[in-house]
Each structure stands twice: as structure tokens, then as C-alpha cells.
């Protein structure tokens, strides 16, 4: 009874905040409603006793993705009046495409053409239902043992992504002065002060590279 009540609370809030994401005028509010939708979806997962997915949803989608969205929305100056004008113009085509997709989904749900015909490999729940092991623990038990090869393979892929991002974007600009805190702290009277004899009637250009903070 209680779980049914919670289901309806989460479900109604999820659908309502989903609707608000596209209805609200202020883009920052839209992202905040999106976060609310994620939280409610996480609640639904908890009701299904899939607490690991619920945690992932909160950590990854709320913690990382939505915050990134928020930054982008706040930094980009999007003209919403202009977007609205385009909306009215293309509403007809949008409605047709949306209608077709909806019809396809309904047809597919009705048809159920792709059936799991073979009973040979039907996976049994791991761990067996009622064994009292949470699914976070169950995942942890196989991720580093049975699936260690896949785990390490995926980590190599992330490694390549990291190297690639650095190679393609990092530029060493020669003309830019960078702050070197170590050099600044180490600066004393010996390195910071220089006595230069200026001949009377002449001038002296101090040798470059003597000042530690000017290096790099």
C-alpha cells in the first residue's frame, strides 16, 4: 500500500516535472525541473529495489550531467524569442513526425515481433531472489572477477579518450606569461635584486631571463 502511494507520488512528479522542462520559459528553471525529474526517476528505481541504478542516476545525471547543462545554459546567451518564432513555423512538420513516431511505438507494442524464442540461455537472476544480497554487492562481486577483462578493456578506452582530448586540444603558447608560485615564493633578495652599474651618460639593458617570474 505504501509502495503504491510512493509510486504514484514519484510517477506524477516525474511526469509533471518532465512537462515543466519543456513548458517553462526560463531555461535555468527547465534544467532545475530536469533535475527534479531525475530524482523522481531515482525514487522509482528504489521502489523496484534497483538501488544501484538509483544511485547512478543521482550521481551521474544529477551530479555531473545536469550541472554541466546548467553551466552551458547560464553561459550561452540564447535568444528564446527567436527560437519560439521557429517553433510556430515548424510546428506542423513536428506534429506529423511526432505522430508517426507515436504510431510506430504503439504498433510495435501491439505487435511484439521480437520474442525471445530460445529458453536455452535465459538468465536467472543473480543473485538468486531472496538471498538477501543487494544488487550493488552482487555487481561488485562479478565486476572485478568474472568481468575483469571487460572492466579493464573499458578503462583502456577511457585512457585513450583522455590522451586524445589532451593531444587535440592542449596548446603550449610560447608568448604567454604563466604564474609560477614556487618561483615567486623562492624569490629572495639574491634573485630579486640586481645591482647594475649604469655608466654616466649611457644606458644598460638588463640581461633577459634573470628574473625567475619572467621565466617561461
Amino acid at each position: 500500500m505504501a509502495s503504491a502511494l510512493f509510486f504514484y507520488v514519484f510517477a506524477v512528479l516525474a511526469v509533471a516535472s518532465g512537462a515543466m522542462v519543456i513548458l517553462t520559459k526560463n531555461p535555468v528553471h527547465a534544467v532545475l525541473f530536469l533535475i527534479l525529474a531525475f530524482f523522481n526517476a531515482a525514487g522509482l528505481f528504489v521502489l523496484l529495489s534497483a538501488e544501484f541504478l538509483a544511485m547512478l542516476l543521482v550521481i551521474v545525471y544529477v551530479g555531473a550531467v545536469s550541472v554541466l547543462f546548467l553551466f552551458v545554459v547560464m553561459m550561452l546567451d540564447v535568444d528564446f524569442a527567436e527560437l519560439k518564432a521557429g517553433f510556430i513555423k515548424n510546428a506542423g512538420i513536428g506534429a506529423v513526425v511526432g505522430g508517426i513516431v507515436l504510431a510506430e511505438i504503439l504498433a510495435f507494442v501491439g505487435y511484439r515481433g521480437l520474442t525471445a524464442a530460445s529458453s536455452l540461455n535465459v538468465a536467472s537472476p543473480v543473485p538468486a531472489a531472496g538471498s538477501g544480497i543487494t544488487n550493488t554487492q552482487a555487481l561488485g562481486e562479478i565486476l572485478y572477477t568474472k568481468y575483469v577483462y571487460f572492466f579493464e578493456g573499458a578503462s583502456m578506452i577511457l585512457f585513450v579518450a583522455m590522451i586524445g582530448a589532451i593531444v587535440l586540444t592542449l596548446k603550449h603558447r610560447v608568448a604567454v606569461k604563466r604564474q609560477s608560485i614556487a618561483a615567486q615564493v623562492a624569490r629572495g633578495p639574491k634573485t630579486g635584486l640586481e645591482v647594475i652599474k649604469v655608466p654616466s651618460g649611457g644606458y644598460v639593458i638588463p640581461p633577459a631571463g634573470k628574473h625567475p617570474e619572467a621565466a617561461e
Partner: protein, 487 residues
């Protein structure tokens, strides 16, 4: 759990992964950028040789990680070919990248990681390891395609390759998820046994999954009609990178195709045979016709590689042990000749400027007869003129196809082989009979060595102790794949 026998089976991959990480550290801690690039490149070549020895020293067949990773004579044959291809392309890189100020230590590290992905692809015996290997390889290749980041065409090549590669990965994943949903397993062995059940014979989901996975792999081997990215990416990427693209990654993707079709889908052979025959005919025809109008030699080699993938697929279409060994022989010969051809392209230099136009080769025979002769041998070999290696490559794929009764496929293949001979021979004609263009600058030693080696291989393949040894190894490799999973 992991014990020492498992480590022995994955030893080459382990050495390569740890070595790549160690070389990255070496590069990061060396102050001088260019010296770091040079040192890490040489160490990378050394590492690839060590990995090659580790692969060579393995014996027998073993499956580890719950059937996700397989090591047998089939994987060993292809891994050796891939490692040789990767090591020789690294050797050809120095001169070009030094001039282009691209000799960064990240390049050899990315090539090593791409090679690691290829080894994982060759050994993949599970849909998840298939995908992980493929992504590791592709991601490293997207980066090296855009490696010359100040060059618009290189960035364009990287972006195009990335977008189309991501699309193809998506299709492959979609197919893999359908296959998993229908058969209840990601392991090739379980998929094969589930697909072999009588009630699965008419299952739509199985065919859908098969088609999507094949489309994803066809993108990676650049088989028509999934080839559109190839000419632009080959032309835009720095030439040493193109040389790498044309060789090792295709071998790995073909290995994936061979094992997936024959180990996971032996009962669906009638379905995938149709697809492979179509891909093969379309690739051979496009490779023959589209290359005729090309003036840029890198684009020409791109279309030529599309055609050669078509020829290799003829062997797979035959669906027999002979056909599979034909594909393996074709791939080994193709890599050897492609490396030589790109070594020739890398030697087309006037001062500090690299040229890529076919007309730049005019009258080469009068200024550099050795260069012209080597390129002529390679072109004759590509065209399939006996007794050069290219002829035997075609011989070993068309013979099983004819035995399997695929007469239309064989006839179309031979006709397109004759048509493609036109543009190969045109290069020979330009070099030997046209009015000389400005002579090239002196060749660089390592690149010349690679092209000489390649031409030498193409010439002596006919000798029994060269060609025969490769044919024997390929036959043994193919028999493992086919006998483990009786058709």
C-alpha cells in the same frame, strides 16, 4: 579468478597495455618534445617486436575470462600480421612527421593502444569484448586521423571518421543488443548453440541482429555501401597515419567478421552469405570504377583498398575452410603490398614539400629507376599479374568461391580485377613513358627499406618456402576456426 594460466594466454596484450602506459610516462617526463617523440617511437617499435615474439611463443588453443577471450592459431596468425603492419608504419613515420613538426610522443602511444584494441578484436569471442576492442581501436584512430590539428583537412578527416565511426558503432551495438535479447547470451558459443535450435530457424530478431552487426563491421572494413568516409579520411589524414589505416585496422575488422560469422552464426550462414556476396560485389565494382578518375594517389589507394576488401570478402562468401584461409592469405599479402605502396607515397617529396598527385610521378624512371621499379612491381602485384604475390592472393580466394559454386561472384570479381588493372598500369605508364616532371628529393633510408622489402615480398611469394609457409600457416589457422565450430 585470475591465475597464471590466464595471464599466459593474455600475455601479449598485457605486455602491450603496460608498455604503452610506461612509454607515455617516458614521453611525459622527457623535456625535449622532438627527442621524446623519437625515443618513444623507437621504444614502441621495440615493444611491438617483443609482443610479436610473445604471440609467436604461444601454442595451443585456450579460452579465458568465461569465453570472452580466445587464443588459437587463427588469432596468432592475424596478430602477427597486425603487429608487423603497425611496427613498419611506425618506422615510416619519422621522416614525414619530423618535417611536419608532428613527431610527438603521443602518436606512437596512440598507435600502440590502437594495436592493443586490434589484438582484442582478433581474440574477441563475445559481443562485449568485440565492442570493447573495436572502440579502443577506433577511438585511438579518430585521434590520430586529426593528429595534424593545424591542418583543416586533417581535422575534417578526424571529424568525419569520428561521426561515421560513432554511427557504425551505434548500429553494431543495436544489433548486438538484439542478438543478446533473442539468444540470451553475449558469448559466441552460447549464441551459436541458441541459434542452432530448431525453433530459432525462422526468428526475425536473429536476422535483424545479424544484419546490424554486419553493417557495423562493414563500416570498419570500408565495404561498399559503407565506404563513403574512406577517400576523404585517407586523403586528409597525415600520410603515415593513412598508411596505418590502410593496413592493420582492416585486418582486425576482417578477423572480427570471420570469427563472428563462422563461430557465432554458423547456422545463419545462408543469411550472412547473401550480405557478404553483395558487399563483395559492390566493393569490387566500386573499387574498380571509382579509382579510374582519381588524380591524387592517396585517394586512388583508398579506392583500391575498398576493392581489395571486396576481393577478400569473396573468400568469406565461400564459407569453407579453404575460403577462410584464402581470406587470411589475402590479408597478409594486402598488408605487405599496402605498406610498400604507402612507403612510396611517403618518398614523393620535393624539398620539404610532400606531393600526392599521380602526375608528380611522371618520368620517375629516368630520375630514380629503383623507386620506379619498386612501385611498378607493387602496382603489377596489386593488379594481380602472375607470378607476383597479388595474383596468388586472388587465386586463393577465387578458387574456394568457384568450388562453392559462386560463379557469378567469381566472374564479376575477375572482370573488376581486369578493370582495376587499368589504373594500376596507368601509374606504371606515367612513371616510365611520360615526360619527366621535377625529380624527387633523395629518399629516406627507413622508408626505402620498407618499400624494397614489400616489393621483394611481392616478388618472392611464388617461392615455396615463402608463399608455401604463409599458405600453410593460414590453412592451419583457418582449420582451427572452422573445426572448432563445425558448419
Amino acid at each position: 579468478m585470475i591465475d597464471s594460466t590466464v595471464l599466459q594466454v593474455v600475455l601479449p596484450e598485457l605486455i602491450l597495455a603496460i608498455g604503452a602506459i610506461a612509454l607515455l610516462m617516458v614521453g611525459v617526463f622527457m623535456k625535449n618534445g622532438e627527442a621524446a617523440g623519437r625515443v618513444v617511437s623507437w621504444l614502441a617499435v621495440g615493444l611491438l617486436i617483443v609482443v610479436g615474439i610473445a604471440v609467436f611463443e604461444q601454442g595451443g588453443s585456450a579460452t579465458v575470462f568465461n569465453g570472452a577471450f580466445v587464443s588459437d592459431s587463427f588469432t596468432r596468425f592475424l596478430k602477427i600480421v597486425i603487429l608487423v603492419g603497425a611496427a613498419l608504419t611506425l618506422l615510416m613515420t619519422f621522416d614525414n612527421f619530423t618535417r611536419a613538426k608532428l613527431l610527438l610522443f603521443e602518436y606512437p602511444v596512440l598507435v600502440l593502444l590502437a594495436t592493443l584494441g586490434m589484438l582484442m578484436m582478433v581474440s574477441a569471442n563475445d559481443l562485449i569484448s568485440l565492442y570493447l576492442g573495436l572502440e579502443l581501436q577506433s577511438l585511438a584512430l579518430y585521434v590520430v586521423a586529426a593528429f595534424s590539428r593545424d591542418d583543416v583537412r586533417s581535422s575534417e578527416a578526424g571529424l568525419k571518421y569520428f561521426v561515421l565511426g560513432a554511427l557504425s558503432s551505434g548500429m553494431l551495438l543495436y544489433g548486438a543488443s538484439i542478438l543478446y535479447g533473442v539468444t540470451g547470451s553475449t558469448s559466441y558459443v552460447s549464441i551459436a548453440s541458441a541459434a542452432g535450435l530448431p525453433e530459432m530457424a525462422t526468428n526475425v530478431g536473429l536476422t535483424f541482429g545479424l544484419v546490424f552487426v554486419l553493417v557495423g563491421i562493414a563500416f570498419k572494413v570500408a565495404a561498399v555501401p559503407f565506404h563513403m568516409w574512406t577517400p576523404d579520411v585517407y586523403q586528409g589524414s597525415p600520410t603515415p597515419v593513412t598508411a596505418f589505416f590502410a593496413g592493420a585496422p582492416k585486418i582486425a575488422a576482417m578477423a572480427l567478421l570471420l570469427r563472428f560469422t563462422q563461430a557465432a552464426m554458423p547456422t545463419a550462414a545462408p543469411q550472412w552469405q547473401q550480405i557478404v556476396i553483395f558487399l563483395s560485389i559492390a566493393s569490387m565494382a566500386l573499387g574498380a570504377f571509382a579509382a579510374i578518375g582519381q588524380t591524387n594517389i592517396k585517394r586512388l589507394l583508398a579506392y583500391s583498398s575498398i576493392g581489395h576488401v571486396g576481393f577478400a570478402l569473396v573468400g568469406l562468401a565461400a564459407n569453407s575452410a579453404d575460403g577462410t584461409s584464402g581470406v587470411l592469405i589475402y590479408l597478409a599479402i594486402y598488408v605487405a603490398m599496402t605498406l610498400g605502396a604507402f612507403a612510396c607515397v611517403l618518398s614523393m617529396r620535393r624539398g620539404d614539400r610532400y606531393v600526392e598527385s599521380i602526375s608528380d610521378l611522371a618520368g620517375l624512371a629516368r630520375s630514380d629507376l629503383t623507386f620506379a621499379t619498386i612501385l611498378a612491381i607493387l602496382m603489377f602485384s596489386f593488379a594481380g599479374i602472375p607470378p607476383l604475390a597479388g595474383f596468388w592472393a586472388k587465386w586463393y580466394v577465387f578458387l574456394p568461391a568457384i568450388k562453392a559454386g559462386l560463379y557469378p561472384l567469381s566472374v564479376i570479381g575477375m572482370v573488376s580485377s581486369v578493370i582495376s588493372a587499368f589504373y594500376y598500369l596507368r601509374i606504371v605508364k606515367v612513371m616510365f613513358f611520360d615526360e619527366p616532371a621535377e625529380a624527387f628529393s633523395p629518399r629516406e633510408g627507413r622508408t626505402s627499406a620498407v618499400m624494397a622489402l614489400s616489393a621483394f615480398f611481392a616478388t618472392v611469394f611464388v617461392l615455396p618456402f615463402v608463399g608455401g609457409a604463409i599458405v600453410d600457416a593460414a590453412t592451419a589457422a583457418a582449420s582451427v576456426l572452422v573445426s572448432a565450430h563445425p558448419l
